[in-house]
Amino acid sequence: MIDDLERAIEAMLFASDEALDARQVAARLGGETTPGAVRAIVAAIAERHAGSGIELVERGGHWHFQTPADLAHLLRRERDDPRKLSRAAAEVLAIVAYHEPVSRAEIEAIRGVQTSKGTLDVLMEAEWIAPAGRREVPGRPLIYRTTDAFLQHFGLASRKDLPGIEDLRAAGLLDPVDLAFEAAMDELDLVKDGEDA
């Protein structure tokens, strides 16, 4: 059986806008209880909640309730939001995979078009590419490589599993028939990239 004074102080600390100290609690109780008595009761309340999902903590003599820090992960829930990789991002990823390590300027030279920062960010967010130091040339540009997560996602045992140019040609992936169409699609993607950025 929890006594009335303890209940009252517990409710006060729970409902208060801000952390309260013993003097404030005593004042709200009407002055019949001393701050010292309040402190003893607050300690009892804290003790009663110890190890539960609710914690009474002291910060500079002020007390407030909070959820224990070790349970913070329960208060945040991560939800997947699947998105299709844009064609521009797929190109950049492929270039990194085939030419790594590679700088942004080198990627642009290979792609023949400018690459927005956002595209690299997307690939890093996906954890498919990662910075791999700097190229020791003027300007010391960042260079990028693919990650283990990249190999895993695309079902590759290693980078050597990537098909060579001749394989691509044999598979029709270098077939120029669709070039105009692909180029048009690419332009669309670039527009989209621009909007994202």
């Binding site: 806008d17 909070q66 208060l75 939800r79 991002a89 797929a90 492929a94 085939y98 992936l173 070039l179």
Partner: protein, 257 residues
Amino acid sequence: MDELPLAYDVVPAATEREDALQLSLDSWEGPLDLLLTLARSQKVDLRQISILALVEQYLAFIAEMRALKLEVAADYLVMAAWLAYLKSALLLPKDPAEDPSPDELALRLQLRLQRLAAMREAAARLLARDRVGRDVFLRPHPEGLHDVRKRRWDASLYDLLAAYGQVKLRTEPVVHMVARRPVVTLDAALQHLERMIGVRLDWAELSDFLPADYDGPLRRSAIASSFLAALELARQGRIDLRQDGAFEPLYLKAAGA
């Protein structure tokens, strides 16, 4: 039903002063509300109420308002007219043919008043409950539960390879590979003729100097370049040329032979 007290008003202003003269009808939510207030002044359960007495109370109240030249809203007057009719019907000897009978009308009015009273009482009991922010309190600043949306990018190996193929295609240097056309150059014809005139000493037709396996466009090219070569060699005085007439075959032999 008996354990339910009589109707409560949430805002008691009108009801507490029901015997005093009200200078305004603003205190009531319409004629039914006024009737309910008057009914409660009879201090009996609504089921035992005298409708006739209630009608008289209402009509007297409205008459008083009008005597004071106060504006009385139309719906109060409509109710007054209807109640005046009900009163006369209730007072007259019963006419069994009359439908609905005055008693039925009175019963309906009574049922309506009971229902309104029940809801008024329910509202009062509801508002008297322990309400959040007045009687019970929540945590003012809870940590809150948050959903963090994590983007998951999706692409297949095919997407990747197709994209790379496209990059390769787009950026491959453009080379115009012109197929080698079958021609015999002037130099080649000159060398050929020079070799041949050393072998043949007599007049021979130009076409005989051409390699036998030249045919089609290559042969035509060889004829053209050999003709030019023959003219050049004749100019140098190294061969003689002879033609018997226009479009006749062209003959040549080594000069001085």
